[in-house]
């Protein structure tokens, strides 16, 4: 369906983001380009007490410079469409390679600067001990006059990037914890102990929490469910998840309907961006809770595998009584072997057996002569005569 005119202010953003594997490193490389914006934005606003609107109207040098820069870029696109399109359609691989090289250079420089920065700004940067934060802040401090302003920008973005990059690792760790819990309990669902711990994590705002307490409250308020139920769902309680997830999905549908209604009422030109943004937030909630469900399923799958393997081992192994008997036999064989090994190579053994019948016959045949058995090389596995 035709949607009228829809033009992005900047092209290739999606491809650029998709092709940037290490977003934190890429940001390291380019965040410095915002130095003048960060500096003038801060100093102007702080010094003059201006608000955001005033900063915009003030036409700061950075803003003017930037506008000219973008104007030139637009003109360049116009002037030489073929060159521009070649630039635009550059392979992501080439762009990525360039990025990696530059990033390495900048990183080394930034690490050096970090040491200098740490000595000067140690007092102000107590909370910024993380290497990512420090590196970015160090880079900022190396630029005269920018200092903390750009460092702040780098820190916030850098920290958020670290969190963003850690999400995958967190999910893996969560699945591993869930798996351990299920393996210990032998169930396909999480134990009360695990869920209580997860609830505590959410309430205390732990880094391991799937969702924040504020988000739990928002969900509870909108879905008219008790906060406890939403908390338990986010913590991994199956029954609560079954209650909460459909309600959260229903919220997304509700926003979808509202957007469609608004568009239908205005023949498509209604501004529905606020509704779309709200729907986006609820989509995040669905994603969070679905993440919990899928983690549980993955962990349960792993626990199943473990249980199957364990069962198989049990089935193939002898029973306890039999194993005991085997162990006893093993010990007896060991003892016998030791005793045999202790024997000299040539030994005469008198075997005390009831040979009366034989003796009678022998006595009769040999008239009472002694009967001896020579032992040669008395070792296990060899013939005993």
């Amino acid at each position: 369906m035709a949607t009228g005119i829809n033009i992005s202010l900047v092209s290739d953003v999606r491809d650029f983001l998709k092709g940037t594997k290490d977003a934190g490193a890429a940001l390291d490389d380019v965040v410095v380009s915002l130095e003048d914006v960060a500096k003038e934005g801060t100093t102007t606003a702080d010094k003059l007490g201006q608000d955001f609107q005033d900063v915009r109207n003030d036409g700061t040098r950075a803003a003017e410079r930037m506008e000219r820069e973008f104007e030139d870029a637009f003109k360049a696109v116009k002037r030489d469409a073929s060159d521009a399109s070649r630039d635009v359609s550059r392979s992501m691989k080439t762009a990525g390679d360039d990025c990696v090289n530059v990033v390495d250079e900048v990183k080394n420089e930034a690490k050096q600067n970090f040491a200098e920065m740490a000595s000067s700004f140690a007092g102000d940067m107590d909370s910024a001990v993380d290497l990512v934060q420090g590196t970015l802040a160090g880079l900022a401090s190396s630029i005269p006059g920018i200092g903390i302003a750009l460092g702040g920008l780098g820190m916030v973005a850098g920290t958020m990037y670290s969190e963003w990059n850690e999400n995958a690792a967190k999910t893996s760790a969560r699945i591993a914890q869930m798996y351990d819990d299920m393996r210990e309990s032998g169930d396909r669902y999480l134990s009360g102990e695990y869920i209580h711990q997860a609830i505590s994590d959410i309430i205390s705002g732990s880094a391991d929490a799937v969702i924040s307490l504020k988000e739990v409250q928002e969900i509870a308020q909108a879905t008219h469910l008790p906060e406890g139920t939403v908390l338990a769902a986010a913590a991994g309680d199956g029954e609560s998840l079954a209650q909460v997830l459909p309600r959260v999905r229903a919220e997304v549908d509700r926003y979808k309907e509202a957007i469609n209604e608004a568009k239908a009422a205005s023949d498509g030109w209604a501004d529905t961006t606020m509704l779309e943004e709200s729907m986006g937030i609820w989509k995040y909630y669905v994603k969070d809770l679905e993440g919990v469900t899928s983690s549980i399923e993955t962990a349960a799958g792993k626990a199943d595998l473990y249980n199957q393997a364990a069962r198989r081992i049990r089935e193939n192994s002898p029973g306890e009584e039999e194993a005991q008997r085997f162990r006893g036999m093993g010990i007896a064989i060991d003892d016998a072997t030791k005793a045999l090994n202790a024997l000299p190579t040539d030994k005469t053994i008198t075997i005390a057996v009831d040979t009366s019948g034989v003796h009678d016959q022998i006595r009769r045949a040999l008239a009472g002569e002694a009967f001896t058995i020579p032992v040669m090389a008395a070792r296990t596995g060899k013939a005993v005569y």
């Binding site: 369906m1 033009i7 202010l9 637009f74």
Partner: protein, 167 residues
């Protein structure tokens, strides 16, 4: 249109936007919409030369914030009196049409019966404009300022978030 590859600033902003927390992104989007939305609408209206341009192109002109923000125009899907649907046929008003086009059609005569006539049927259209008449020139004027302001908005909002966090 400017590519993200043309400017490190744009790369930085695109990356920052992707990594930010939801409330900060929400705040950036609100500010972007509040600042740039009216500007875009007024520019499109300024370039609209005829009443029908308002009806077809300027109606529904708005800014959709995001990473990157998008401008929207000619989004109405209501069929106009003559049958034109702006969202589907805006190009006729934006880029003009072949005014010399001749169409042969059947019509009923005054004395009964039908006969064929050949007429100019596109005389009401604007002439061809390769670079657009309303929305495209408005965009050319709007884009550098808007991109610049978007970059400032992102930086400023992040700085505010830092201040808020620090306090």
């Amino acid at each position: 249109m400017i590519s993200v590859h043309d400017s490190n600033r744009l790369k930085a902003v695109a990356l920052v936007m992707r990594g930010l927390e939801r409330p900060v992104v929400r705040e950036i989007n609100t500010r972007t919409r509040d600042e740039l939305g009216p500007l875009w609408k007024s520019l499109v209206e300024l370039h609209a030369q005829q009443h029908v341009d308002f009806q077809v192109l300027a109606k529904g002109a708005r800014l959709k914030p995001g990473n990157p923000p998008q401008v929207i125009a000619a989004s109405s899907r209501r069929r106009m009196a003559g049958g034109l649907i702006p969202a589907e046929q805006f190009h006729i008003r934006e880029f003009g049409g072949t005014r010399d086009a001749l169409t042969t059609y059947s019509r009923r005569g005054r004395r009964g019966g039908t006969h064929q006539v050949t007429r100019h049927t596109a005389r009401q259209l604007p002439p061809r404009y390769r670079k657009g008449r309303v929305v495209w020139p408005a965009f050319a004027e709007f884009a550098p300022r808007a991109v610049s302001l978007w970059v400032q908005t992102v930086v400023r909002t992040v700085m505010d978030a830092v201040d808020k966090e620090a306090n």
